[in-house]
Amino acid sequence: MQATDDERSRQRRFENLVGTYREDLFRYAYWLSRNRELAEDVVQDALLRAWRSLDSLREDAAAKPWLLTIVRRENARFFERKRLETLDIDELHQAQQAEIAHNENSDVDDLRQGMLALADEYREPLALQVLMGFSTQEIADVMGLKSGAVLTRLHRARLQLKALFDNDSVDDD
């Protein structure tokens, strides 16, 4: 009976964590993979791995970076396992345009397209910073980079996005 109660308690803990971070996990996976279907698969696989290693998570306060790291690894495994072809950006834009939500604000749509076109090395730190609220150091920890490299990537990422629809915003000097 004790074992069953422990298992239920473990399951409740897991479901609470997943409920809290489900949206974050999917969006992170989406901006990593740039594909909704793949992102769903990656999140499902990541949840399985997280469930299996839940006992290694000492404090629930650390759950978010822990889960995101699992998603990141799972995404890398997924691409390696499936040996997915390099995505064609033009085709991707057309496909994703129909898949992701469109916003009445055309700037938001432009930014989504811009994000899809950004190189992985720029897109990921931006998603971690803007969506997940991670500090520069936290991004550096997740990506295995130095803080300076993270800041450089963030700066370049924003310059590229701003150049999409506001060329003078970065040349105001």
Binding site: E23, E40, D41, Q44, L111, A127, H155, R158, D173
Partner: protein
């Protein structure tokens, strides 16, 4: 310590607009261009965040009670099935759209003989697009007991300027979709026998209800408000009368 230049300030802002750094407050206080750049950067951040917050689908929780390997096998099987059902879809919905267009064009032709063109409200192009869309997302047309999250439903409906009453029933799926060039809420509610798709079109006015079918799906477009309509679509045999009669009271446009 050397004073920060305008260019250095802008670079720091673009690296982490929400993080404080040494000299930020002073620079904003003393430099108009810096202040303007910071304000513009914060407005950009708000848009960027909105762009990154893509709608989140329902992601089924894996079966935690089964052994890991069997759960993975089940997931892989479900995915293989899902993908296998998709590829022919483009050809199929192209055919369906074409067939629906032909049937409705024929009906339109007969009606054209009876009434002025301006009064004809059959919208064969729109019906074809609706059938095309439902076919494209046919995987989501399934019986489900778990509701879509309220935040997703809210996001999807409010971004289109619409609102759906809670008593519309269990909404198991919500996504923003492009139909006929407009971004609209695509909802799935659970009907008597199976799922029913609702495509809320705030900018597609029609004068009267337009029933349609393609042999697999049947539906009706009904007017909602003064400027819009909603398409109600289910598999053949699924009763749509109840929802057709009550839908106009449960959807609000222009919130």
């Amino acid at each position: 310590m050397m004073k920060m230049t305008y260019e250095q300030f802008c670079e720091r802002i673009d690296q982490a607009p929400n993080e404080d750094f040494e000299g930020r407050a002073e620079k904003i206080a003393e430099c108009d261009r810096c202040r303007a750049y910071a304000e513009k950067a914060m407005a950009f951040e708000a848009k960027l965040r909105a762009a990154l917050e893509v709608p989140v689908p329902e992601i089924p929780m894996p079966d935690l009670s089964s052994p890991l390997q069997s759960t993975i096998t089940n997931l892989d099987a479900a995915r293989a099935e899902r993908r296998a059902s998709k590829p022919p879809s483009r050809r199929r919905y192209t055919f369906l759209a074409l067939a629906a267009s032909v049937v409705l064009a024929a009906v339109a032709g007969f009606r054209f003989l009876e009434q002025p063109t301006a009064e004809f409200d059959g919208r064969p192009d729109l019906v074809a697009e609706l059938l095309h869309h439902v076919d494209h997302e046919r995987d989501e047309m399934r019986v489900k007991a778990t509701p879509a999250s309220t935040s997703t439903v809210s996001y999807v409906t409010t971004t289109a300027g619409t609102k759906v009453d809670e008593d519309i029933g269990l909404i198991s799926y919500a996504r923003s979709c492009v139909v006929n060039g407009n971004t609209i809420p695509h909802l799935i509610v659970q009907g008597k026998n199976g799922p029913i798709t609702l495509l809320i079109m705030p900018d597609e006015p029609i004068k009267q209800a337009v029933p349609f079918s393609d042999g697999e799906f049947h539906g009706v477009i009904v007017p909602v408000g003064e400027t819009g309509s909603v398409a109600i679509i289910g598999r053949m045999g699924e009763p749509l009368d109840d929802i057709r009669d009550s839908i106009a009271d449960k959807i609000r446009l222009s919130i």
